[in-house]
Amino acid sequence: MKLSPALISWLQVGPLALILIVFFGLPVLVVVAASFFDYDHMTVIPTFILDNYQDLFSSDVTLRLYLSSLKFAAIVWVITLLIGFFVSYFLVFHIDSLLIKIGLFLLCSVPFWTSNIIRMISWIPFLGRNGIFNQMLQDAHITSQPLEFLLFSDFAVVVAYVHLFTLFMVVPIFNSMARIDTRLIEAAKDAGASRFAIMREIVLPLSKSGIALGTIFVVTQVMGDFFVVKVMSGGQSASVVSALSNQIQQLEYPPAAASAVILVIVVVLMVAAILRIVDVRKELAS
């Protein structure tokens, strides 16, 4: 007996599909369903009400939280994009030896494989009131007293985000830049193009799909974060998910679910907008 190719593929992909349906697809449906449920102090009551959404849309807190999250996402996106672009550009076009290129690339990637929480915490002794950065500034007589805004502020939140997520930008941009045919650049150079023109007219358009993928990663990570905002802002800033996690702690599951559903719709719209501008399938298909 010979199995049909489609059946073989399904047998091979089956375990992946099964796990994602059970632990991802169904839970998403559960959250959507729960967003219409009622609740009291102890339990969730299965019914169909729109109160959770009405509360969400009638509160100004919602808008403030989204503006706060979007503000972080925008700032972090710009910074990680600039770093990601120039770091990749350096590795791809200025390092000749493949071995050194791989070595430097790994140097950038290793922190990604270590704990996010620890990497975030490591900024505390650095940015604190008596931290290293303040001591350096004072020793250099740049400031006469410690800067208070460094730790437990929006500044600290942005620093931690950039620290955690820049790699998500470097890797895809590096990948798409590495695939650019160097003969194109040689030709442009022979035709008299300046360095800047080559970067703008050739490298930038050809790394677009990498930039788009990196953007999707960074934006979704920032929009979905709650622990960086909680720890690094010292409780002064909030994000959509940090508010959501507070609701979960107070066992208010249905409102939390409604808030999660809206968040996902917003995130999906953002991703869809990015995909409309740039077709990243080329990047994934090859």
Partner: protein, 279 residues
């Protein structure tokens, strides 16, 4: 192309090299500081100056009751990461090979993978914990925790697998077929050995992403904490360098795992290079 006609590096090289160096310092600087501070003397605090050097904060980690259940959560995290890594490898190899053919439903599974990758972790955790609650089941790190982490490790593993398979030259398989190898022989003796370095990469992702996972695990681990959850609890109630000591320990574990994975990949590549050269 990095040199000009005269053999000198262009000024942009130095500017970009500076940016790169600053980026690496930015990445490693703060981490290095907490490794140093974790050896803070008994009187020392959370920042410089160092008041002597001691391993007191490391001892505190293993003493029961001093800073939570670090030892227990560490064992759970290692076991969980090992299981997640093995499952990620097996499932992603199989799925990666399956995706090489077009089949009905391929698009659906692919979108499921991408959605799982970009979905905020807490959403997945909330869904799983609510689902368990509605079914009257208790959440537990061995089941709901593992499942939640797989929705994060599998998509990453599959993307790595796609990259690896994309560079795979299928004529090796065709040659094996022409020589009379069965499908199973082809997979075991041709395809998998060629893909091995990439597979080690998938294992590395599976292990480290699970070992450090927080957002999906926080609602699904049940009553017993994994290490990141324990560390998270420490950030709110421990204000001693013990917090940094746990960071040093967990980073050493990560570095050992990364080193083992990258080292074995390099070894395989070198052996291959030698074999090719000697033929």
């Amino acid at each position: 192309m990095q040199t000009t006609a005269s053999g000198k590096r262009p000024w942009t090289f130095y500017v970009l090299a500076l940016i790169f160096t600053l980026f690496v310092i930015f990445l490693y600087g703060p981490m290095t500081v907490i490794y140093i501070l974790s050896f803070q003397g008994p009187e020392g605090g959370l920042t410089f100056p160092m008041r002597g050097v001691s391993t007191q904060w490391f001892h505190e980690l293993v003493e029961p009751g001093r800073s939570g259940d670090i030892a227990g959560s560490f064992q759970r995290s290692m076991l969980l990461a090992a299981v997640a890594s093995v499952l990620t490898v097996l499932i992603c190899i199989s799925a990666g090979l399956g995706f090489r053919r077009r089949f009905p439903g391929a698009g659906f599974v692919f979108y499921l993978v991408v959605a799982s990758l970009v979905m905020p972790g807490i959403f997945v955790g909330l869904g799983i914990s609510l689902g368990f609650q509605l079914m009257g089941l208790e959440t537990d790190w061995r089941i709901s925790g593992l499942g939640a982490q797989l929705t994060w490790t599998l998509p990453f593993g599959l993307l790595v697998m796609f990259a690896v398979i994309g560079r795979f030259n299928r004529s090796f398989e065709e040659a094996a077929r022409d020589l009379g190898a069965t499908a199973w022989q082809r997979t075991r003796e041709v395809t998998l050995p060629i893909l091995l370095p990439g597979i080690i990469g998938v294992a590395l992702f599976g292990f480290t992403l699970s070992y450090d996972e927080f957002a999906r695990t926080v609602l699904t681990a049940g009553t017993e904490n994994t290490l990141p959850l324990e560390i998270w609890a420490m950030t709110t109630n421990v204000t001693s360098p013990a917090l940094f000591a746990v960071g040093t320990v967990t980073t050493i574990i990560s570095f050992v795992v990364i080193g083992a994975a990258l080292g074995s990949i390099a070894l395989i590549q070198r052996r291959r290079g030698r074999n090719v050269a000697s033929h």
